[in-house]
Symmetry: D2
Subunit: 157 residues, 4 copies
């Protein structure tokens, strides 16, 4: 059976240098009665960026959960986030989520993310994620994920 991914190149965005880029269209669901994008929608967009960055590095959430990557069944969860909402976005806009890996710790990854539109930064965020087991225990970042991300760690951060 044809893989739908093959029909839609670029669906998971692309990696340019040390950064991952994902385009996001603003739909009804992302906006609120103020006419602007609801603030928590940007966290959803950032999560999509992180998921697709990881995907292009060969790691899937289903495989992590099935324990196929680095052993024990695992999921990524967000532990800490600092986020600036600088400018608004609106219905029909196309924005880009830019993700960089700032730091790989023993059990955490720190990512820098920006939401941009036409060269303007709308939102910027620093996000610390941890890998946890099904029971909630933090797991060490294993060699597979570590080696996948290592070459992307931006030395400037």
């Amino acid at each position: 059976m044809a893989e739908p991914e093959n029909d839609w190149p670029g669906l998971a965005g692309r990696i340019e240098g040390e950064r991952h880029l994902l385009p996001v269209r603003i739909y009804f669901e992302d906006t609120d009665f103020t006419g602007l994008v609801y603030h928590a929608s940007f966290l959803r967009f950032c999560e999509r960026g992180r998921s697709d960055f990881v995907r292009l590095l060969g790691i899937s959430h289903q495989d992590l959960l099935a324990g196929k990557e680095d052993g024990e069944p695992a999921v990524f969860v967000v532990r800490h986030m600092e986020i600036d909402f600088l400018k608004p976005a609106r219905i029909d806009d196309v924005i880009e989520v830019v993700t960089e890996c700032a730091e790989i710790g023993g059990a955490t990854l720190t990512l820098k993310q920006e939401v941009v539109r036409g060269g303007q930064v709308l939102v910027c965020a620093s996000v610390k994620v941890v890998l946890i087991s099904r029971s909630g225990k933090p797991l060490r970042v294993g060699p597979l994920i570590r080696s996948a991300f290592e070459r992307f760690v931006n030395q400037d951060h």
Copy 2:
């Protein structure tokens, strides 16, 4: 430790006669750029109504999933829905989700739901839900759920 439910009576709505009533406040997250409530938000409200109806009948999603009710681990999923969006709702509104059980089949429950505000029907829906196992197999409605709902089946539908 104090159960938070005890501090907030009415949090799960209440049963009046054969109907369950749940109040819902409209927040930013429920609206879109048109200034009105986003249509799919009403499905979320209806799901809250169904969950709290079931809750007041003594059935919890966690227990269903843990297999404590009627045996095998199970979750409710929506199989079919017909929904009329008659009038809009807006930020700050208080609406009520009214849920009745129209029919109990071998493996399905059919519920009639209305979203009302100040006596006006905003949305009405007919929802067929099924109980499925973790592998996706439809399960028969067991005696616990059947007996819980039986007295609520509205003969008029």
Copy 3:
């Protein structure tokens, strides 16, 4: 300034014959604790499909709201929906939203939509939308939208 759309061809899907196709990736936000896609998420996906179909026909929500299309400021709202949830979707899946225009009435458009994955229909829906003014009054479907959709009306429905 570069238009981000130009960097991401296919972001709004594509029209094939009388149908519009939009790929959608399943992210964390679309799933629930059952491990499956939350039922109301499919309504969000269908709305994205309708928005991008309209977009590829040259109609933008911002222009409708600014009154640039066919006169009075207007927005599309859903009036009626009938939806079957046939099979589940899961995290990381790529699904396609297929949209056809079944009927153009005086003030309504009826669309047939399917969510498919690898040739399998997961969800099918019939959706009646109306164009309303800012005050909530239904508006006649003007010549611009009528002529845009007319050639897509599938005679089989």
Copy 4:
């Protein structure tokens, strides 16, 4: 016609001393495939807490938008947020959103928010909101909002 608020006392939570408390039930929509509450859902809960705190102080979003409070039409938007996700929440849980006003600036309000369950802090956040005009211009916090919040500013922060 009866006001639905009167039928549901406590729907907007309550003020205890310098803090606002809002109970929130966890439904399907709030969780994701990991079985836990999706991280961005906590931002929605925090926004509900802020909205209901403001509501109990006599300020409604509809009135702000209609320009009935302190003059020019206005909406609250989030400018900055720092958030720690300490412990997970699950389906059926009842959590409480605790909101305090930490600081009133010329054009900003800084709020401290905690999401707690049975005495345990699950999430804590510092949120800076600004009041903006419809065109996006930051507005000074007027006397009505200032005086409403002033007595709640917690001197310990």
